[in-house]
Amino acid sequence: MFGWEFPPLSSGGLGTACEGLTTGLTNLGHDVILVLPRPLPKEINGKLTVKDAQRYATIDLKRLKTIAIDSPLQPYINTREYAAWLEHHKQILHIKLDKQGELYGRDLFAEVQRFALLAQRAAIAEDFDVIHCHDWMTYPAGVLAKQASGKPLVVHVHATEFDRSGNNGANQQVYDTERWGMENADRVITVSYFTKRQVMEHYGIPDEKITVVHNAVEFTNPTGDRFAINKSDKVVLFLGRVTLQKGPDYFIKAAKRVLEHQKNVKFIIAGTGDMLSRLIEEAASLGIGDKVLFAGFLGKEDVDKAFRMADVFVMPSVSEPFGITPLEAMRNKTPVIISRQSGVSEVIQHCLKVDFWDVEQLAGKILSVLRYAPLHKEMSDKGLQEVHQFSWNDPARKCVDVYSQLQPMRVLA
């Protein structure tokens, strides 16, 4: 399995999904070899060599072996962020770089290629039956490994370039890699029907080649009590990247509508992203600048506090392949309102659902949860019960089903 972050650095996203799936698979008695990029240490003393950059570390646990390859690749990194990273490190690695040429790929795509070669080389020495990779940056590694081993390839789509770009300005090179990976795979797994439809429409992958495996969520640390805060105001929370994809602008518009009817409400936007300054301006121009608070990026503990402080959590995503944050909110006994344009809306029931563009409905539902106490209580109680029913063993079982349907390629003599 070509995956990410083990153990995961942040909740939600690729790292969590890879960890969950790996745990589920090993629980079911399968062996997993996890090949993943390993972030470089923060402080580099300037003596890195090409050999250093090609090294990898192997950890062998009972059913799980991890092979970590040094690479700056990380989930959701984009070309701009990679270029910035490289520029930064060129300063630090100045001397060596001049002598040895480039340690890392000169751009994101070159680095993905470099990682693919190293990962394939490391993986191919191992014994395995099926190759499973997660999102586009690992597709080249997967395809190379398939070509070298003749073993079937499964690509797992957690998000597409269309989600990340919020439907405009999709990067052609990323799209091409995604499409090439899916076409070369023996089976495509998507995290929702929502994503399956996108894969069919935008990538031309046939229906029968795609299997939907919804993510799960498992919570180990206990939920604390509701955050005791002395507040006279009701709190409505948005938490996530402040990008077009997540629909924060609809959140602001709904806030305006709610505040026309009820004054004692604060709207909190937690997270950062490229839309932040635009949103601050919009809130001000709508005359609700004092009612919308921008909390910035929150660490794990603060996230839980924010959920507990909130009377309702809203996820108005325009395009959300799965979306794990509503489950985090429910776990903290906070009622959630989510957009129907999300994968998670396919698996949870104890919530309210809206179309992201329907600001009137969204505002109406926010007001309802704030005003009707029995509604708040029932959604909190039943929501908490619901999130605890998930187990990563279920998606793992579905993956095993997929594996068992695939045949290794006949290697020509």
């Binding site: 026309e260 009820q262 104890h350 009137e360 109406g364 106490a373 029995p374 029932e378 039943k382």
Partner: protein, 446 residues
């Protein structure tokens, strides 16, 4: 001798339209006439018309030996009259055969028996009058909404002059005993209880089309054999929703063929007969007592009232609704009274059930809303708008009885009550955080 007694429940609620919180104070139409019409016509086409024609022909063909009974709710008959009058004529035709008994129930298929005794009696009276007006029958046997039954309900119904009451044959009141006899409800003198044989009833109503069921496909001779198996039985009560025929069990399952042949097969055993509930009550005597201090019903595996009163959303909205009785009556406004009563229909509260919700079972099938939360929001928005409507009517009333100068003052006050402002004002008043806990049994059993 085995007397087979069949009763079919026919009901349609006045479903609410999606009433947005921003509509509060605008007094828009509460009920979704378009959807209600559509559903009634669909069910009429798939079930009511073909099933009623089939039963009518069967009665004639068997020379009056096949007998049935119906409980037709007021809310169903109102909609039938409005959208498909043919249905009323069909039931009227059936009434004239003398082989069809109409049962008594609350006009609005409400939970009034659990919340307000006086309201309960009034709704039963309204329904009784409707039966008399439409079909020339004065019902003698009572069935409560969803077969909700307690000792207290049996006692009230006895006082109202009924000779029998219908209930679920659940182990909760029968324990080891058979439902195939009459019983005497605790604390009553002579009213008799007919208990539903839920195994045989559900073989038709729920299991008939289930291919996983070991008795699938169920044939008429097989069923007749089950019915006749214990000749010491007095009565076998087959009670079910009428929609079983053609709507819950689609025509393609063969349910109409089954209904066509079953009466002949049952009667091919010489000791069998079909009787209506009144005839059963006249023929047999109770063999024991049943005790229902807490409500039992025919719903879900629990056979209790948790489908309507199981969560805070349901309990608080029901409590709020029933608290309005005096106030609504004091308005002496027929429109307000009718709205209040239509809102009492039990379906509105059934839609709010969160019990089995995530498992996606039968509740979801009957639910016009995306979720129980949506149905609760709709009900609360309507109740809040209704509160503003009543306040306006009250002002009109007092205004008309005041002197000119006072009336003028009041008009000013009325004008100041703009919808948006009213929303603000009333939301805070009407939706207190504390949920008034209303114990069903305490209302009835006090």
């Amino acid at each position: 001798m085995v007397s087979v007694c069949m009763y079919f429940q026919v009901h349609q609620p006045h479903r609410l339209r999606q009433y947005n919180i921003f509509d509060i104070g605008k007094h828009q139409q509460y009920f979704d006439d378009e959807k209600n019409r559509e559903i009634l016509l669909r069910v009429a086409r798939k079930c009511y018309i073909p099933a009623t024609n089939l039963i009518y022909n069967k009665i004639n063909q068997l020379g009056g030996k096949f007998r049935v009974s119906y409980s037709l709710t007021g809310t169903f008959l109102e909609q039938a009259q409005k959208y498909s009058p043919e249905l009323i004529r069909l039931f009227h035709k059936l009434a004239k055969t003398g082989c069809c008994e109409f049962l008594s129930e609350t006009y609005y298929h409400s939970l009034a028996a659990l919340y307000n005794e006086e309201e309960f009696k009034q709704q039963v009276g309204m329904h009784k009058k409707l039966m008399k007006d439409l079909f020339g029958q004065s019902p003698k046997v009572f069935r409560n909404t969803e077969l909700i039954f307690t000792n207290r309900i049996a006692q009230i119904v006895e006082q109202m002059g009924y000779k029998a009451i219908i209930a679920e044959g659940t182990e909760k009141i029968l324990s080891w005993r058979s439902p195939n006899y009459l019983y005497q409800p605790a604390g009553t003198r002579k009213i008799k209880a007919l208990l539903k044989n839920y195994r045989l009833s559900d073989d038709i109503a729920f299991r008939f089309g289930n291919k996983e069921w070991k008795a699938y496909p169920l044939t008429a001779p097989q069923f007749a054999q089950w019915v006749s198996a214990d000749q010491s039985s007095h009565c076998i009560n087959l009670f079910m929703d009428y929609e079983t025929f053609g709507e819950h069990q689609w025509a393609t399952t063969g349910i109409f063929k089954f209904l066509e042949h079953m009466p002949n097969e049952v009667l091919s055993h010489p000791n069998n007969e079909f009787l209506t509930p009144s005839q059963v009550a006249d023929k047999y005597q109770p063999v024991g007592e049943i005790d229902a201090p807490y409500p039992v019903s025919w719903a879900d595996v629990e056979r209790d009232t948790s489908a309507w009163t199981g969560n805070d959303m349901q309990r608080s909205s029901l409590a709020k609704l029933y608290l309005l009785k005096d106030e609504v009556e004091s308005l002496q406004d027929p429109e307000a009274l009718e709205i209040w009563r239509k809102l009492q229909t039990s379906d509105h509260f059934y839609y709010m059930c969160t019990k089995w919700f995530a498992d996606g079972d039968v509740h979801k099938y009957f639910n016009p809303y995306e979720s129980p939360y949506e149905s609760y929001i709709t009900m609360m928005n309507v109740l809040n708008d209704f509160a503003i409507m009543r306040q306006k009517k009250r002002r009109e009333m007092t205004a008309s009885s005041l002197s000119d100068s006072e009336a003028e003052l009041d008009t000013q006050a009325q004008e100041s009550l703009q919808p948006e402002a009213a929303l603000e004002e009333f939301q805070t008043q009407l939706v207190p955080d504390a949920v008034p806990e209303l114990q069903e049994s305490s209302v009835i059993l006090s």
